[in-house]
């Protein structure tokens, strides 16, 4: 599997905690070509969040951004149905991440794993900041 270059979001000076989901692989209805209609294909999703740091999270889930919530939102977006572009999927995921007010910056990478026979993947990556 290709090495993902991880953004260095964590920062003591800026008070940023980096929360991430690495290589989430799900079947998705995606693509513009006829052979991509009516079936799923595997996509790989990477999400990196720059979130407001709390000096002492007190080991409490409500004090940090919960990756389970982010994953549920990603699954819900994919379950909405066919999208033509990976870009669309990435934008929707980024928007869903911003529903948590503590998220300042989102980086989303969407890869299609079966798009090209002789390539491991094709994909796009976007970064959005409030």
């Amino acid at each position: 599997m290709s090495k993902i270059e991880t953004p260095r979001f964590a920062s003591a000076v800026s008070g940023i905690r980096h929360v991430f989901i690495r290589n989430l692989e799900l079947p998705a209805h995606i693509g513009v070509y006829r052979q991509e209609e009516g079936r799923t294909q595997p996509v790989r999703i990477n999400v990196d969040l720059a979130t407001d740091e709390i000096a002492d999270a007190q080991d409490m889930l409500e004090n940090v951004v919960d990756y389970h919530v982010i994953e549920k939102r990603i699954r819900a977006i994919i379950a909405e149905g066919h999208v033509r572009l990976a870009e669309t999927l990435a934008e929707r995921i980024a928007a869903a991440c911003f529903e948590d007010q503590r998220v300042r910056t989102v980086r989303v990478r969407v890869e299609k794993l079966a798009a090209l026979t002789h390539a491991e993947s094709v994909g796009i990556e976007i970064e959005r900041t409030r």
Binding site: A12, V19, R22, Q58
Partner: protein, 51 residues
């Protein structure tokens, strides 16, 4: 850690342990959970702490 201290997250505890050596100025800690999500390689957090 004294029992009166509020509990810290795992990454925070590791960062604090790094600062026990007085020569350490900045610590960056990444903690990944490898079995948290069934269809993901990992989830995790990264923090940075400076004196």
């Amino acid at each position: 850690m004294s029992s009166s201290e509020a509990p810290l997250t795992g990454a925070d505890r590791i960062a604090a342990a790094g600062f026990e050596d007085a020569r350490v100025r900045t610590v960056r800690v990444r903690v990944e959970k490898l079995e948290a999500l069934t269809h993901a390689e990992s989830v995790g957090i990264e923090i940075e702490r400076s004196r």
